[in-house]
C-alpha cells in the first residue's frame, strides 16, 4: 500500500533521512523503531508532506505523492496521529473528532464513525463535551487516535504514541493499537519503546541516524542480538 523509495529529507541544510526505502502492505502493521534523533518523526512528516522530500519517492497504492499538497494527503487515505497528540486544547473531544472528519467525504459518515470511535474508546464517549486540553495523557492519546480514524483512512500513521505516558498507560494504548490492527486498519507506527511496540506489530524496520539498519518480523527482531544488546539492555 505504502512504498518509500530512496527517500531523503531534512530541515534546511540539515539532512535527517538518507535514502530510506520501506513498504507497508495492506492490512499489515509495521513499526519503525530506533533511538532518539534517528529521524522517525521526520519520516512520518515526510510521508504526510509536512516537509518536502529532497530526493526519492513516496507512493500510496501505486500513486506518487510528489505533487500532492500537504492538506490533500488525507484524501489519499493517509491519516496521522502526530507526536505529542496535538489535540486542539480548547475544543471539546467531540469537536476534535469533528476536525478529523473535516474532509467533505468524511462529513457524511461523521455520526457512524463517531459511534465507532466511542465504542472503541468508551471513556471518550463519556467525556465528549470536555475540553481536550483538560484530558489526561492517556485520554488525549485515545482522542488523538480517534480523531485520526474519523476520516476513514486506509493507512494510519502513529508518531510515538507512548511518548510522555506512564508505563501502565502505554500498555493500554498498545492494546488499543492492536485492536485497531485487528479491525483491519493498515498501521505504521514509529516508536522508541521497542519492547512494547514489537508485541503489537507484524514486522519492523530499525532506523538509526537516518538510515535503515535492519528489518524483519517482530519475532526475528526481538530475538536478534543487535536489538537486544543495544536497545533492550539484555
Amino acid at each position: 500500500m505504502l512504498a518509500l523509495t530512496d527517500v531523503c529529507a531534512g530541515y534546511g541544510s540539515f539532512q535527517a533521512l538518507f535514502g530510506i526505502s520501506l513498504e507497508v502492505k495492506a492490512g499489515e502493521s509495521v513499526a519503525v523503531i530506533g533511538p532518539n534523533g534517528a529521524g522517525k518523526t521526520t519520516l512520518l512528516r515526510a510521508i504526510s508532506k509536512l516537509i518536502e522530500l529532497t530526493a526519492g519517492e513516496v507512493t500510496m497504492e501505486g500513486r506518487s505523492l510528489r505533487r500532492v499538497a500537504p492538506h490533500e494527503v488525507i484524501a489519499r487515505g493517509i491519516s496521522q496521529v502526530p507526536e505529542n497528540r496535538r489535540l486542539f486544547p480548547r475544543l471539546t473531544v467531540e469537536e476534535n473528532l469533528k476536525m478529523g472528519a473535516f474532509l467533505p467525504a468524511a462529513r457524511n459518515q461523521f455520526a457512524q464513525r463517531r459511534e465507532f470511535v466511542y465504542a472503541l474508546f468508551p471513556r471518550m464517549g463519556e467525556r465528549r463535551a470536555q475540553l481536550a486540553g483538560t484530558l489526561s495523557g492517556g485520554e488525549q492519546q485515545m482522542c488523538a487516535i480517534g480523531r485520526a480514524l474519523m476520516s476513514g483512512p486506509k493507512l494510519l500513521l502513529l508518531d510515538e504514541p507512548s511518548a510522555g505516558l506512564a508505563p501502565v498507560i502505554v500498555q493500554s494504548i498498545m492494546q488499543m493499537v492492536k485492536r485497531i490492527c485487528a479491525e483491519g486498519y493498515t498501521v505504521l507506527i514509529v516508536e522508541q519503546n521497542i519492547r512494547q511496540v514489537l508485541k503489537v506489530v507484524d514486522r519492523a524496520y530499525l532506523l538509526e541516524t537516518g538510515r535503515i539498519k535492519s528489518s524483519g518480523s517482530s519475532a526475528e527482531l526481538l530475538a536478534s542480538d543487535e536489538i537486544r544488546k543495544a536497545y533492550l539492555g539484555i
Partner: protein
C-alpha cells in the same frame, strides 16, 4: 428620590445600545487577531468603506436600502479576503511590526481612495426615522435597530464558529496551526475565509453606523482607536473579552458624555483603560501574553 435622574438612565441605556454596536465592531478585529495573529490597523477604514459602499449603492445607484446593505457587507468581505491574499500573506512570516505597518499603509490608502471617490464633504444616507419615546426618555430608532442587528450578528457569528465545520476549523487553527493539513484543511484557505468574515463583520458594522452618522473619509479615526482599546482591554484576540469590554467602555463614553462634553467621555474611557493596563496588562479576560 433625588439621585434618580431619568436622563442619566437614558444615558446608561444608550450606553448599552452603543455597547452592542461596539461589541460587533470589536468582534471582527478580535477574530482576525485571534486566528491569523495579525492586527488590521485599517479595520476602522474598512468599516468606513462599508459605509460609503452602502451610500453609493443606496443614494447613488438607488438600490433599496436592505439590498444596498447586503452589497456593502459583500464588498467589505471581498476587501478583507483580497487584503489578506495580497497584502497580509506576503508578510505573514515576517516580524509582527511589518504586519502592522502593512495594514497601516492600507489605512492611508483606503482613506485616500475614499477621498478620491467621494470627496471630503460629509455625506449622509438621508434615512430619517422618528425617535422612539419611552416615558421621558427618547431613543433614536436607528440606534435601537443597530443594537438588535449587532446582537444578531454576534449570535450568528457564534453559531457559525461553533456549529459548522469551517467555523470549527477557524477556531482550531488559532490553537494549532501546524497540524491543520493533517485534518485536510488548507490553512491559507481558512485564513482567507476568516478575513472575509472579518470584513463582513466590518461591513455590517458600517451598515449600522451609516444609519446613525454622517460619512467622511477620516471617520475611521472616530471609532478606530476606541475599537482597538476595547479589544486590548478585553484581551486581544479574546472575542468574549471584547464583548465585555465593549459594554464597559460604552458606559464610560455614554455616561461620561452625559456629565461632560462628549469628547471627555472618550478621555475618561482612555484613562480607565490605562488604569486597567496597570492592573491587568493582558486585558480583563486576556490570557498568556502574546
Amino acid at each position: 428620590m433625588e439621585i434618580f435622574d431619568v436622563f442619566l438612565l437614558e444615558a446608561v441605556l444608550n450606553g448599552i445600545l452603543l455597547g452592542g454596536l461596539l461589541a460587533l465592531l470589536s468582534l471582527g478585529l478580535n477574530l482576525i487577531f485571534g486566528v491569523i495573529d495579525v492586527v488590521w490597523i485599517c479595520y476602522a477604514e474598512m468599516i468606513m468603506i462599508g459605509m460609503y459602499a452602502v451610500y453609493a449603492l443606496h443614494v447613488q445607484q438607488h438600490w433599496p436600502l436592505v439590498a444596498a446593505m447586503a452589497g456593502g457587507i459583500a464588498i467589505v468581505a471581498l476587501l478583507g479576503a483580497l487584503m489578506h491574499q495580497f497584502v497580509i500573506r506576503p508578510v505573514l512570516a515576517a516580524e509582527p511590526i511589518n504586519q502592522l505597518l502593512v495594514t497601516g499603509g492600507m489605512l492611508f490608502f483606503l482613506q485616500a481612495a475614499a477621498t478620491l471617490a467621494f470627496g471630503i464633504e460629509f455625506k449622509n444616507l438621508g434615512v430619517r426615522m422618528a425617535p422612539i419615546a419611552y416615558g421621558e426618555m427618547s431613543f433614536s430608532a436607528p440606534r435601537l435597530i443597530a443594537f438588535a442587528v449587532a446582537v444578531a450578528g454576534v449570535a450568528a457569528t457564534y453559531v457559525f464558529l461553533t456549529r459548522t465545520y469551517v467555523g470549527t476549523a477557524i477556531r482550531a487553527i488559532s490553537q494549532d496551526r501546524q497540524i491543520m493539513p493533517l485534518m485536510g484543511v488548507n490553512p491559507d484557505r481558512i485564513f482567507t475565509i476568516t478575513s472575509a468574515l472579518g470584513g463582513a463583520l466590518a461591513g455590517l458594522g458600517g451598515c449600522l453606523l451609516v444609519l446613525q452618522y454622517d460619512i467622511h473619509p477620516a471617520i475611521g479615526l472616530s471609532f478606530g482607536p476606541i475599537t482597538f482599546l476595547i479589544c486590548v482591554l478585553g484581551g486581544l484576540g479574546n472575542m468574549l473579552g471584547g464583548l465585555v469590554a465593549a459594554f464597559i467602555f460604552a458606559q464610560f463614553i455614554s455616561v461620561g458624555g452625559f456629565f461632560f462634553h462628549i469628547e471627555w467621555g472618550y478621555v475618561i474611557a482612555f484613562v480607565f483603560f490605562i488604569a486597567v493596563m496597570f492592573w491587568r496588562p493582558q486585558g480583563i479576560l486576556g490570557g498568556k501574553q502574546r
